[in-house]
Symmetry: C2
Subunit: 336 residues, 2 copies
Amino acid sequence: MTRNVTIKDIARAADVSISTVSRTLNGSSAVAGDKRARVLAAAQELGYEPNAAAQGLVRGRSMTIGVLTQDIASPFYNEVSRGIDAGFAGSGYQPIFVNGHWEIQDESAAITALTRRQVDGLIILGGRLTDQALRDLAARFPLALVGRRVPGLEPMCLSIDNVQGAFLATTHLIQLGHRRIGHLTGVPSQRDAVDRLEGYRLALADAGLAFDPRLVFEGDFNETAGILAVEHWLGQGVGLSAIFAANDQMAYGARLGLYRRGIRVPDDISLMGFDDLPASQFTLPPLTSVHQPLFEMGQQAASAVLHQLLTPDEPLPHPDLPLTLSVRESVRYARP
Amino acid sequence: MTRNVTIKDIARAADVSISTVSRTLNGSSAVAGDKRARVLAAAQELGYEPNAAAQGLVRGRSMTIGVLTQDIASPFYNEVSRGIDAGFAGSGYQPIFVNGHWEIQDESAAITALTRRQVDGLIILGGRLTDQALRDLAARFPLALVGRRVPGLEPMCLSIDNVQGAFLATTHLIQLGHRRIGHLTGVPSQRDAVDRLEGYRLALADAGLAFDPRLVFEGDFNETAGILAVEHWLGQGVGLSAIFAANDQMAYGARLGLYRRGIRVPDDISLMGFDDLPASQFTLPPLTSVHQPLFEMGQQAASAVLHQLLTPDEPLPHPDLPLTLSVRESVRYARP
DNA sequence: CTGTTAGCGCATTCAA
DNA sequence: TTGAATGCGCTAACAG
């Protein structure tokens, strides 16, 4: 753990002033050829690495973007993160990720840690921070939000229309003849869960189908909830020909629950997910799901932050996130 | 984006010197009650947040740990990341994550970005950096390595014995009567892939079974490789009663490939994975797999770094990572 | 107990 | 073109 080499060391080695070192290293103004060469050689020789903290301190910019992710373990956020990485590639800004764990205290702590670190912008994935807290943040930093829609911050929200997505999914099932469709909800305190339930109800109403509360099971976005839902429905003798889970992970659980009962998918019961995680292409059978363009959401979040950073005066364009259904093999016509 | 408030602002507001502000905020030495109160009030009032860059600059420590992860999208690394988070909780150190994407240039760039940011320690998950590069890093920073074994750095390597793990898996299959066991390898340039193949061979030899190269298919750790392997073996008429995939993701792909061919698991063919990803509890059927204690590996990596940071003179204890098989439903006795 | 001062490493202004 | 000097925000001696 030897002391880091600084521009002072280079200056001494190259026999110039530290200003000359700084200038040649940054190309901020012309430097005589020979000195320039000596500085470069010395820097190379000594293995110089600029101290980002010092640079940030004097420049007032850290060239880093803080990304608050909820759970590095969730496949959902992972795809988004990849998009964010891609979106900042070559921009000179570096995204750093910290976890909020879906706990409001952890999230606040993480945001604080990030702002203390003088990040130049912020991307927040989901989370429990209030809309107002987010608006306050937006006033202080270039910001982008993934998976949330905050009134007043629309152009920086990268989120599909969850109501619309659930409507699409449910309608797809209805069009295939399904009349009794179970819905497995997400955590009711999360807006997207509520919206998906809403889309389910709207689709039923739109098709003239009555809403039956027994067909709704409150889940928590994890696989286990899918197993419990199936146990519940089948145990109670609730008849249904299709299940629409508010996310893919719960659909996986439901699939296992059905398997345990000897019920085939899609022969006996159709199964619909939401998110279209990469893994859903490889489940048995491959899962039909509402596609969220997660990678693109991350990429566009990066673009939005970059836009605010580089051209703060130009209006932020509205994001464009298409809503599609990935039709695979877990859904089929309802038996007559 | 108003200017940040600094201790100077607080000093002015509380009518004390900046040192008094610094002292009360850090509790580094006693301060008179009334001044203390005024400072605290002013800090609260103005919404003061210390500038971590400035603190780091003067203290020489940034209180952050850099974590190089390969692919935020991989379920493997995600579990480890959660463990790392847990391991640093309450320590005062904050882990920040950056991605290397399994590209040696990206990895070097990420490490550089991290070191420029003056991280106090480093955790590296997998990756393509050479053993020597890692040893050099270890000489400069408190370091921990997950999923690799570097000669000379044993106590800071959090990795199970891959040879042993594959031996265990293959032996399990052999004991259940399987004689023709296909092995689906990982990327041959990755050490763990090579080790797992080695363990497979050793188990065969140990049981007096001949090694048949036609039973080995070179994969790449992704689902698609599993599908290709099944296509290959079945297309070539290579007979086998069990498949041992070098990771769970390939096992998922193989499972789908078998399903496409109408082959049941485990009735017709047994399937064994490696890693025991959380999702493997919910596949159809739930997958038998070599368990890697990913969360614990992350946690112990954090502990190892903390140990080097806090008690640099004490020897680093050797990590303790038990090797177990998660026996589920994808493997059964071979038919006589 | 408290204020003044000297840097941490760097970019940048100001003279030369 | 160059070096000396200044200050980014903060902590840690150093004198009181």
